[in-house]
Amino acid sequence: MVQTRTLVHRGHPGRRSHKFPRRGERLLFGLIGFVVVLPLWEIVVQAGLIKRVTLSSPSLIATAAVNDLFIKGTLWPHLFASSQYFVLGLGLALLTGVPLGLSLGLFRRLNFFLDPWLSAIYATPTIALVPLIVLVLGLGLESKIFIVWLEAIFVVVVSTMAGVRAAEARYLDLAKSFRASRWLMFQSVIVPSSFPFILTALRLGTTRALVGVVVAEFFSANKGIGFFINFSGTTLRTDRVMLGVIILGLLGVAMGEGVRRIERRYEKWRPDIN
């Protein structure tokens, strides 16, 4: 008698396979980190295992938050100053970077000409140039805006250039076959194709600009969130340092998420990146 191997499946129709995540799982596990770390942190510091000055503690940071944000409001002028540098620097970077990126993408020769220098500067950590910049431009508004601009502009240019290159050849060929002028091709094919990439430029530029603001404030400022963090560090007010860091991080996350939402709205236009 030949033995047969039987595949008998008696699954339950309709039951969700355990492989699919439940809706709340993401939130649940996302919170685990906080639920575990925060109390642990508090306990470790209260017990004296880690000095208060080293890491501060959630309760101290919360107190500082209430103080500096609400009661005494010492943090707001700093935040305001930082946002000034941020907006001006980033705005300038976009205004100069997008056209430059478009030009470099369109005019191949210009690109070849400038490429070695742009690559070299891009490969250099911008912060290495900060002492020089501060020396030349002084300690005022200009040097800060310049630093923010410098940080942000390269990603803006590179992303925009990628956008021009991504304009699919077949759309361009189509336009050419209808005898479209160069300007019309630019308007009707290249700009729309580049748009998602310009949004990427915005997202990356925002991140870099934030870095630029903090860097500038660390080395040449007497206000701003970067200065607040640095100064609090020097005066060993670790609670304020952590507060500043947390606010900065949350700002970064919020801005990144914000731009990502905008990007997603226009996602369907994005040409295939090969």
Partner: protein, 264 residues
């Protein structure tokens, strides 16, 4: 299960829950199927009728909700192996490593696996391409490697899921002829899924016609054409008769809006 049968499916149903709408949908509805050892059986049907799903149930990738499938255990080798649609060779493995993969999955040491894969490489006419990477091969050659990979594990039944769907028309024809040649040398039982009626008739001993979703077997047509079959046979009157018959059945299954269905 009767001796002589390679596969016996009874009453196979598959129900699933649509993730988006939450409805319970039936993909496969009561399929009964007997396949004799050494037979080449095809299933044709309209898009989305569940034929691929049925194949995946046989392969064990999906669980059926009800019913049984019995496969005769092989003296050596595995019960079944699948030949996928295109692009399923691992791009990071060489051809020989890809073909030997099935054996490696069973724990065979790599060197031995490669040695055992060698005759299969010759069988599918890929000698000399062992060290190449998939991107260096044409679509037809990749599918040959795909086939060799499945044959290497010596399956009782070869399951083929529209393997030629992504090939251009001419390569497709050549591959069909190639497949018959390889099949006659390897003498396997084959369950073959396809869209193309011509392909099914040309290749098979039996063609099963599946209804639109939920899939049932509408007809089980024995193809009485002599073997070995040359491609020219596709233009013979008998062939065309089979094609008409099957097309007649399928067109009743097409969606009402389609002009073809309306015309028949």
């Amino acid at each position: 299960m009767d001796t002589g049968l390679a596969l016996q499916a009874r009453d196979v149903r598959m129900e699933y829950v649509d993730q988006a709408t939450g409805e319970r949908l039936l993909a496969v509805d009561r399929v009964d199927l007997d396949i004799v050892e050494g037979q080449f059986v095809s299933i044709v049907g309209p898009s989305g009728c569940g034929k691929s799903t049925f194949l995946k149930i046989v392969n064990g990738l999906f669980p059926a909700s009800e019913g049984t499938i019995e496969i005769r255990p092989a003296a050596q080798g595995v019960a079944h192996a699948m030949v996928f649609q295109d692009s399923s060779l691992f791009p990071w493995y060489t051809i020989v490593d890809n073909i030997a993969y099935g054996l490696v999955c069973q724990g065979v040491p790599r060197k031995e696996a490669r040695a055992r894969a060698k005759p299969l490489i010759d069988l599918v006419s890929l000698t000399g391409f062992e060290k190449k990477f998939p991107y260096q091969l044409s679509g037809g050659m990749q599918q040959r490697a795909n086939l060799a990979r499945a044959l290497t594990v010596d399956p009782e039944i070869l399951l083929m899921d529209e393997p030629f769907a992504a090939l251009d028309a001419q390569t497709r024809e050549l591959m069909q002829a190639e497949l018959l040649r390889i099949w006659s040398e390897a003498s396997k039982t084959v369950l073959f899924i396809t869209h193309q009626i011509d392909e099914a008739i040309y290749l098979s001993d039996r063609v099963l016609v599946m209804s639109a979703r939920p899939g049932r077997i509408l007809a089980d047509i024995t193809i009485d054409l002599p073997r070995p079959r040359r491609l020219e046979i596709k233009r013979s009157p008998e062939f065309i008769e089979y094609a008409d018959r099957i097309w007649g059945l399928i067109s009743t299954q097409l969606r009402p809006e389609s002009p073809v269905a309306a015309a028949s």
